[in-house]
């Protein structure tokens, strides 16, 4: 408990120092359209989000309600993208080694498709799905799938052949080799990969919402960008930073126990 309090206190001090430096820099620049400071963000930009509710005046309570109402679809898109993308990606990466037919298709999926920049796919998805919500989900799931399937494929490839041969020597059949050797071996590498995915998911969701969504934080960012509202844009940057950090901490907390046996530096 003492350690936790000490850690929290250090964090608070760091945050205060950063905020103070930022505020000093914004005073030096003296132009909120270029470098809005934390005070300006709190007093002007954050309450101005109430306009997304059709409000006539800036209001923090309404702004908070607006953020929550748009955060929910963003979180939902992220969750669905993660669940389906990770499941499909993991299974595909795994079965690429298990079945020859899937291995052949991996030449296209893992060697060609993975090299297409995901941002470049957005206009294509826009034209294919015409801004339909389903298109947003497909894009996010696809983005997660590509990352996870590639990492899974590589993780299985990295399993030492000696271990697999050992299993064969012990008369293990293929499913047993996967269960007893490959799965346990690839977990630390997959944890690392999934940690990346949990960070990248916000970029994928933001990209999908920015171009063609009717709700979500990306939608709000697009509107703020259209009107060059720097204060609102900085606020959203901070919000995404918080989301990313929270995801990272939660992920670490719940996956730590899976790799206690693995050596760490």
């Amino acid at each position: 408990m003492k350690r936790l309090l000490k850690k929290s206190a250090s964090l608070v001090v760091v945050v205060i120092i950063v905020m103070a430096l930022w505020q000093m820099l914004s005073i030096k620049v003296n132009d909120t359209t270029v470098m809005p400071g934390p005070v300006f963000i709190w007093e002007e930009s954050f309450p101005s989000l109430a306009y997304f509710n059709g409000s006539n005046t800036p209001d923090r309570t309404q702004a908070l309600a607006v953020i929550m109402s748009h955060l929910i679809p963003t979180l939902l898109r992220a969750l669905i993208g993660l669940v389906f993308g990770i499941t499909l990606g993991f299974l595909y990466g795994l079965y690429s080694h298990y079945y020859a037919a899937v291995r052949i298709s991996s030449i296209v999926v893992l060697k060609i498709l993975r090299n297409i920049p995901l941002l470049a796919l957005i206009p294509l998805f826009l034209h294919w799905f015409g801004g339909h919500e389903f298109g947003n989900y497909v894009y996010i799931v696809f983005a997660v799938f590509i990352v996870v399937s590639t990492n899974t494929y590589d993780a299985v490839l990295n399993v030492p052949v000696t271990l697999i041969n050992l299993g064969r020597t012990l008369s293990m059949r293929k499913p047993q080799i996967y269960k007893s050797i490959i799965f346990p071996y690839i977990i630390p590498e997959m944890i690392g990969s999934l940690r990346n995915v949990f960070g990248l998911i916000w970029a994928f969701v933001l990209a999908a919402e920015y171009i063609s969504a009717q709700s979500g934080l990306g939608y709000m960012i697009n509107r703020s960008y259209l009107h060059t509202n720097m204060g609102q844009l900085v606020f959203f940057m901070l919000l995404f930073m918080l989301l990313g950090m929270s995801t990272y901490l939660l992920f670490n907390r719940y996956t730590k126990s899976l790799t206690t046996w693995a050596t760490t530096e």
Binding site: Y51, S55, L76, G130, G131, F134, Y137, S224, H227
Partner: protein, 424 residues
Amino acid sequence: MGNHRIAFVFFAAFSFLLFHGCSGESDETEVDKLKTVRFGMLPYGDHSYAIIGVKKGWFNEVGINLEYKAIKIEEVVPSLKNKTLDICSTPPGVLIPSYENAPDLRMFVFGDVFQGYAILVKSDSEYKSVADFVNEGLSSEEALQEAAKQLKGKTFTYPSETAIQPFIDLVLNKGGLERADVESLVIDDPLTVNAMRRGQADFQTSGVPSRITLQKEGFRPIISAIDLVKAARPSPESKELSSVFHDGWATSKTYYEEEYATILRLASVNFRITRFMNDNQSEAIALHMPYLTEITGQPFSAEDGKIIYEDLNPFFSFEDQRPWFHDDSEPLYYKHLYGRIIKDFVNQGAFPNNVPTVDDVIFADDIYKELERLSASSEKKIKLLGTKTLSDDDKVTFEKVKHYHSIYNYYDSDRLASDIISDL
């Protein structure tokens, strides 16, 4: 137990995805007697005015349930092409250059004249406006030339979107300049604002949101679309027509043909709204600006509404639009204006294979003239029915006929009048 929980969560997530991704936005059991029309509007003052009709219940009144949403400009063509939307409010500069890839799309009714483009400069800069030169004793044309010449060798920032390119070329042309004579800084519309704020550019032009943002911060226009269009001649050869265009509603040719009655009803509501915007400006602004605030996340006051309605894109009623479709001595006659716009896009290389004619992309003239025909026909029938003794049911219908006639819904007015006459 853990496996069941996981399975349940998986199933729930999958079900939600299936439902959420596929379901429509409205509760159809409440409005299943109305024709649902999926409508997209751009988040600008000249494209979101349909909200006035929604809030007044005018779409419902003509049997339409409008499922509306604000969309981005990049979504217009894909959404109409993929039939995700039935109708979009859009400038022609978005549809026309897409003709080769989306030849099915048409404008079918107009609402306003967009004249919001302007060249902006810093308020304390030495650059003079057209008005300044006129005050010095120059003629309008000379003033325009001198104002445009100021761009030579300077940094000029503008977006890459197709709709604004004709205006840019026209301004440069007036000053005897070409693109190579200026330092072009071609960036996203909102980024042109930052370029001006930071002094990275001397001159700027872009869409209305950026113009309003900059003017509120003290930047001033030196050349506007209004300055240019004053010199326009009634001909597609008149380059000045490149500075303005009509905003309106567009659909696919397929939808237009399959839902012709709906198109006529939609057009009638469009005209009802534009008449209201002129006759009851304050009330229209009070209905419109809160929605514009909501979909942009930026405050739009009543004063902003006035500027939008009076300066940037004045709205025209059914009666006021008559010259656009009948008077070829009027510069804004649709064949002159769209002939010019198509020429500009040809010059930009937008049509490598297939150059559209005006009638390939504009059906607004057909709709306007059809409404005129139906208006005359229903007026004749109203006069006739006024002399007849009607049953109680027919009297009720006759009131509807007159009401529909008064709100430009000439299609239903004429149709119902014909029904009564056939009963007699």
